[in-house]
Amino acid sequence: MSERRAARPPETSARGIAERVRDGDITAERAAREAFVRGDDARVGPDGLNALLWTDREATLDAARGHATESDFVDRGDLAGVPIAVKDNIATLTLPTSCGSRILEGYVSPFEATAVTRLRNAGATIVGKTNMDEFAMGSSTENSAFGPARNPRDRSRVPGGSSGGSAAVVAAGMVPIALGSETGGSVRQPAAFCGIVGVKPTYGRVSRYGLVAFASSLDQIGVFGATVDDAAIGLQTIAGRDVMDATSADVPVERYVEASGASLAGLVIGRPKEYFPDFLDARIREKCDRAFDAFRKLGAEVRDVSLPHTDLAIPVYYIVAPAEASSNLARFDGVRYGLRVPADGLAATYEATRSRGFGKEVTRRILLGTYVLSAGYYDAYYKKAQQVRTLIADDFREVFASGVHLLFTPTTPSPAFPLGAKADPYEMYMSDIFTATANLAGVPAMSQPIGAVDGLPIGGQLIAPHFDEARMFGAAYALEAALGAEALR
């Protein structure tokens, strides 16, 4: 196992912590305390990485102590005592859920997300809420109302986004697992930028009850892990049908950790040419080639394939997602929760509240979404985008029907960029060029470290057919083991 965990001490992995707690070597409270110490050492708070927005140490330690005395979770849970951080758009009962926005500053949810409940029921301790682009709209965590987060590998650079805070606290070594959310790559892209593992499950694999909605046909809760094993344990814990979310699928959940050690003999891995365009950094291409070589040595066949509508994903995504967001964010009007800016009458209160509460990018996307849905433009933009989306989903269906089991691609076209480097909105949107396709098609995908360029991590992406996460994890475990320390070089 040691080569899999690369440079990380095994005792801080999810499996390592849970074993120590179950064996009685340490208490859950001690495990939480150690996480806070690691977080302090890495300066994950506002004076450092600004990755962690909300914590309550005493309440967290109390909860960890309560776990030990009130239940038998700690005796048997997969996540006994494991400290986990949660993105700020996933509802928790004691810590705020602000979505990185002034409009929800200080809001504490009256209910808890199912994913969080499942983590706690497996013995985990929630140690804090992480920074994010406001309402998950962004690819750098620079759009947070509470200031940008920074990349632990190079503090002058972004950690990616929108779940940049979750990626940063895992990469900084504070926690082995964190929850994020994905709409167009918001887990995989920051995982790639920070040199960790990030998984976007199949649409419907994880309950979204308690996830603040951005674009409902795309949103999915995802998992960050320091290693493939951490991510596998996290995902298998939160996956599965939930009566509180009609879009959660009634499909059995496998134990993804059992994919460790799976043979890749006979596996066909597709190399889609559209993900290796001429403008791709040659050094990223080299790292991908090295990963393909590793897959071949493990017995897999690498096959050239084509997903011809790939370059249309960003235009489609930036019509569909803002359109859905313009509807979902209508609920933030100063009436039922969050900020209220009193004005003369109801309509004026709506306008005053929303104008003050939403930041620049959220406002821009609401207006864009409202525009593409408005009379006269609906057919040209929204309907057309939904039709092209069908073509993108068909690309995946056809390639997987042709006998290809998995696809492997770079996760991003470049490594983490400096803060402030992308001022043009569309240039920022292009960060999601290799990730948004999986959200549009609803298929599962994950990013893992496959090397470094100028000391900055590079991510490789595996994409699988719907609900085939187990096979995806099998390949990810095998690649991680084959690359060993090379995954970080």
Partner: protein, 104 residues
């Protein structure tokens, strides 16, 4: 189909967002810049292609239109901006300005 300043003001009204004159001008350029990239879609032949109404193998299921309200673990006044007697206070409608009940 270039976006005009009137379009920006129109959609801002629809979206209940106040936008200053200066910001509206900037948004014209920003939205046109973004929508310019969407022109790639115009060239795609979608004759006979169904618009996606969901994703994945399962379509877009709807929840059963019944059942108890979601249980709340914190009282209403812990998260609502203004409440009275267990109800949320809503700002008065401008057209009801003479209404005797003051809600703010």
């Amino acid at each position: 189909m270039a976006v005009t300043i009137d379009d920006v003001k129109h959609v801002a009204r629809l979206a209940r967002l106040g936008v200053t004159e200066e910001r509206a001008g900037e948004l014209v350029a920003e939205l046109n810049g973004i929508l310019g990239h969407m022109a790639a879609l115009e060239k795609v032949d979608v004759e006979g292609v169904m618009a996606a109404d969901g994703v994945g193998a399962l379509g877009m299921p709807l929840r059963v239109d019944s059942g108890a309200p979601y249980p709340l673990r914190h009282p209403l006044d812990a998260f609502a901006p203004a409440t009275r007697d267990g109800f949320i206070l809503v700002p008065r409608l401008a057209s009801h300005e003479d209404a005797s009940e003051e809600t703010e």
